[in-house]
């Protein structure tokens, strides 16, 4: 089977999973572009795929790397904003209407809380909590030991609970 056919099949099978990962990891606005970036990297890196992990795990590993690059890009963007005038440096969220549409009003508070956590917590909450991947799968995607997955998931839930501040988040 040609590389193009295989990647096309993987797109059909897993693009929704990758999209959902990005919705929670980076935001609704960027998610579609980042899905495309994952598959471009998959095309480029196809020869390095050894079949040790499932294609879904491999693609989510790439997605996580893409998300990390995106995070660095956003950090740089903030740094650039530092050199602008103060009025201009007010950050603005542009994905709020789209977010309401995708998440529904009732889930926005929880979504915002997840989004305010540090990237490693977001990674593990999305993979273990939302996508319900197993500990070994999450371990493979994040490149962590299984113990680290368990302990970080626990700490992430604790941090999320604190973010939600003891009030009803429904």
């Amino acid at each position: 089977m040609s590389r193009e056919k295989i990647i096309t099949d993987w797109f059909t099978l897993y693009s929704d999973d990758i999209y959902q990962f990005f919705i929670y990891r980076t935001g609704v606005t960027e998610a579609e572009d980042l899905v495309q970036e994952v598959y471009i990297r998959a095309i480029k890196g196809y020869n390095s795929y050894l079949g040790e992990a499932s294609p879904k795990t491999w693609l989510l590993t790439i997605a996580r790397n893409v998300a990390t690059d995106e995070y660095r890009k956003q950090k740089r963007r903030k740094l650039l904003l530092l050199i602008k005038s103060k009025e201009e440096s007010e950050s603005t969220r542009t994905d709020t209407p789209e977010l309401s549409f995708v998440m529904g009003e009732e889930n926005q508070l929880l979504y915002e809380a997840i989004h305010s956590l540090k990237p490693t917590f977001r990674d593990v909450l999305i993979l273990r909590g939302i996508k319900e991947l197993s500990v070994p799968e999450t371990s493979s995607i994040l490149g962590w030991t299984e113990n680290k997955v368990r302990s970080t998931f626990h700490r992430a839930k604790k941090a999320l609970h604190e973010k939600l501040g003891g009030y009803d988040y429904e």
Partner: protein
Amino acid sequence: MNKDFREIEEKLKSLPKPPLKSSSKSLIQQSLREFNEVYEHQKSTSNSLIKRVGFSLTGAIVIGLFLILLVSDGGENDFYQPHSFVAEAQLKNLKELDKFDRLIKFPTYLPFEVSDIHYEEQYLGPMDVMQDEVHYLYEDDPAHLAIRTFFLSLDESNKQVVEVEQWDVSVHSLLNKNHFREDSLIEMEDGKRGLYFSNGAVQILSWEEDGVTFDIIYSTDPEDWVDGRMVEIPLEELIKIAESFETFKR
């Protein structure tokens, strides 16, 4: 607390998992087909600036000759020659650099006028979780710290940043990089091998030298991007920056 955690787990499981819109899927698939065609074509013609450096006998000889030149040049390198560094006055104020006993280099050329610099360190190494806190086990060992220096342009019409990262090669080498691919290796003027990467948001040129992994990361203000991508500078400019690096002592 366990009850709270269980509730959180249930809430996480029940969060929406919206599918990618079918119209977006079609567009992405079309883009991927086009990309694949171009990529296949580029691979077969391989006439771009980025040259493959395989681990061939020729490559080994070139690297060997380079190493011999380095060794034979060692005597001259013992003497520190002052150079005019970019933002030299601000670099001289970086007391944080004093704890590093490895080679430190900074550029003497950047393609824009620098208005300000920003300094950071980044830990990379073993960590442990104790009492719900992450502990960096070798935080006091400078070998595990990257020197990150951002050179900022305040030019209103074209805001640019060059970040220079310097890692101990034993902690972070070219091979450790997510984007490492042999076909992204380029040959620099003095025989060093550089790793080039760009993704529309950043351009990165990395190389190893005397036990240090250097990264030059170029990016611009996203407000100046065109069609969602930054206007890239030529690879030759990045190489010129890299080749302008000189040993720095405070």
